[in-house]
Amino acid sequence: MDVDDEDSPPLLVEVEPSSNDNLEESKPLKVPITIVTGYLGAGKTTLMNYILTEQHGKKIAVILNEFGDSVDIEKSLTINKGGEQVEEWLEVGNGCICCSVKDSGVNAIESLMEKKGAFDYILLETTGLADPGNLAPLFWVDEGLGSTIYLDGIVTLVDAKNILKSLDEPVQETVQHEEHDDHHGPVLTTAHLQISHADVVVINKADLVSETELLAVQERVQAINGLAKLHVTVQGQVPHLEGFLLDLHAYDDVGTLDVSSKGHSHLDPSIATVAINVPVLRVDQLPNLDAWLRSILWDSKVPAPDHGSLVEGNDHDTIEVHRLKARLPLSNGEVKIVQGVREVFEILDSPESTNSIDDVAGKIILIGRHLVDKRFEESFLNSIR
């Protein structure tokens, strides 16, 4: 190698300072990521633009996810700040590369923030036909991984005029929903999946329907997902974004778990919200709670409500839970909360204690398919004994 036969010296180079200092387990600043879904024409773009305008002081990254699968996130991403837009490319390393725990999309966003500074918000806009249940687990990163992003929640836009039709008849689309293409049960559309996984449903274009029609839409949406907050809007305009569309904390806080659709659970033939009332639990019952959740969420099996009987549906009646939340007071005064999306779940400590809440009874909410008349309450009580 001939390094320096020239007479003139090369230019000195600046060496990056090594970054060893104060990295030890300082809590990283965490940036919320919101997944925004909705059919084509529901008004996602209008909503995005509205958020960017209302929050023009904030640095917001908008990521378009074309295929409902984070593998394909390696597209460009737009960062908005003060009305200016900058396109950035996400560098998705070698792809999965062996045994990396974090999703490559998460890694790409993290490394971009390392270079460009943290964003205030990240909005992941999916295509019209995306199943958000496939995306959510990828962005619901384990706390132990110390990621700089966290899943804040899923916002689904529906078009007041067309949503009922979309729910009742599958359009030309094929529902990209693994292993459940049974042709016997009631129809399951992407609209169902987008509503069942939502933490917030924005019913848009309310000005295009009558009040009666609007009421029917609201009831139907609540029957599918009794937990999601509902906003009725025109042109995607939501008065206060924080707590309504942003800063939802839908994956750490469970809220009061008031299900707003009591008595309506049969309104939609495909998806329903089911509430299970639970007594105050003892600490030694927690492993049984965990086993019950594993059976429901991992194996799609409802444990027997009493000896000798089984709640085994036939093949096309297998339960399928999209979203689960629970708040469970314990006899020692602590309160546990449970968060679940599809098969992934976590039992967490709630910051509150039973002293600080009025209602000491526990509650588990399930949103999903084939959940009605499954005797969950008896099953749970029998399982945790």
Binding site: L11, L12, N94, C96, C98, D142, W298
Partner: protein, 385 residues
């Protein structure tokens, strides 16, 4: 964030008393000549005549390809890498051998489906894992002070071919060599290069073979020379990693949850005042090099699923003296600790049996390496190196 030492750095110019900033001679950086700081380009230019002689005296033809990269510890890459090593056509190649893309791993099944191996497949795994153990033992016996990691690569490559096997790392995601060699602060995926192993190093050798359509994967960390065995910190981290793997394997049987291993591993690591590297996990292995399930090594993870008879996966904890956070070199492979402190790893390929586990890559009675006790630190006032 410059440390105190850097602030007091003097300019290397012979006629100059100035403090130096962060400007360095690029040629020195490439040659690995340390502390070649200058206060300014003018001063550097003035001293060029005498300074460049230093390059001549040090020029071994080896260089650091990323001279301006902020390395986290003392280790540097020593390029150029050796020529690409060929695998005879008669040996069965995996699907990524040419374009670097593991196509079969990127399918939906490849990413999500956990294979249950029948008797025939289990026999295939048993065979390739035994061959992989033979190759690792040959490599370990050669890992001594004075040899390069490239030499170890050559030995592994030849040993694979002698066993009618393809060295799985070769061109997997464009990895350039046939084995991963990870010294000192390298967590994993180190690329064999021209660096000479020195007495006092610790070195992980990660071998994977592809034979008869199956991959067999294992690694161990070895003490290089007697100095390493006498260094309490090196012994602490290496033995902690070894014990973490042993403790996790004890749990393996049908029904054990994938999320459990991390709890046991992190608990043991902490008891040795070490941390767990978070970013890399164990993985399913069979006809695919890396597949489902992921086995995180850290506690409180949300991994879904449980072991079943006939599954094959690896557990491969990476344990560090300091932080559990990682940083990747610009070669896109070499993963190092962010604080530059040492790290160690052990790995086995495991087959879940009817009532427990078969360690397919188990050590032979005469395998090199193996556990050692903590060195007795001399107390006669002499400090060890």
């Amino acid at each position: 964030m410059a440390s105190e030492g850097e602030a007091k750095r003097k300019c290397s110019g012979a006629d100059c008393d100035n403090d130096a900033g962060s400007l360095q001679c690029p040629t020195c950086l490439k040659l690995g000549i340390k502390d070649s700081f200058f206060c300014s380009q003018e001063c550097f230019k003035r001293n060029w005549g005498t300074h460049k002689a230093l390059h001549k005296s040090q020029n071994s033809g080896l260089y650091d390809p990323f001279p301006t990269f902020a390395y986290t510890g003392p280790l540097r890459p020593f390029y150029p890498l050796s020529e690409h090593r060929e695998v005879p056509k008669a040996i069965k190649h995996p699907d990524y051998w040419r374009d670097g893309i593991p196509h079969s791993e990127r399918t939906s099944d490849g990413r999500n489906k956990i294979y249950i191996l029948d008797k025939e497949a289990q026999a295939g795994m048993r065979k390739v894992c035994r061959l992989a153990r033979e190759v690792l033992d040959i490599a370990a016996a050669a890992a001594k002070p004075g040899v390069t990691t490239d030499y170890i690569d050559e030995i592994v490559h030849k040993a694979c071919i002698e066993r009618d096997s393809y060295p799985s790392p070769l061109n997997y995601g464009h990895f350039p060599k046939s084995v991963c060699t990870s010294p000192n602060e390298v967590i994993c995926h180190g690329i064999p290069d021209k660096r000479v192993l020195v007495d006092g190093d610790i070195l992980n050798i990660d071998v994977t073979l592809y034979h008869g359509g199956y991959h067999g994967d294992l690694n161990e960390t070895y003490y290089i020379g007697e100095k390493a065995k006498a260094d309490p910190d090196s012994v602490r981290v290496v033995e902690a990693a070894r014990e973490c793997l042993d403790a996790a394997i004890k749990l393996v049987k049908p029904g054990t949850l994938f999320r459990e291993y991390g709890n046991v591993i992190e608990k043991h690591a902490k008891s040795k005042n070490c941390s767990v590297i978070k970013a890399y996990c164990g993985h399913g292995i069979n006809t695919l090099f890396h597949g489902a399930p992921n086995i995180p090594h850290y506690a409180k993870n949300k991994a879904v699923g449980a072991a079943k008879e006939g599954m094959c996966f690896t557990i491969e904890p990476m344990i560090a003296l300091g932080t559990g956070r990682d940083k990747t070199w610009p070669d896109n492979w070499t993963s190092v600790t962010q604080d530059g402190k040492r790290t160690a790893q052990f790995e086995h390929t495991l087959l879940v049996t009817a009532d427990g586990v078969e360690i397919l890559t188990a050590r032979f009675p005469d395998s090199p390496g193996g556990p050692i006790g903590m060195p007795v630190v001399e107390t006669n006032g002499e400090t060890k190196v």
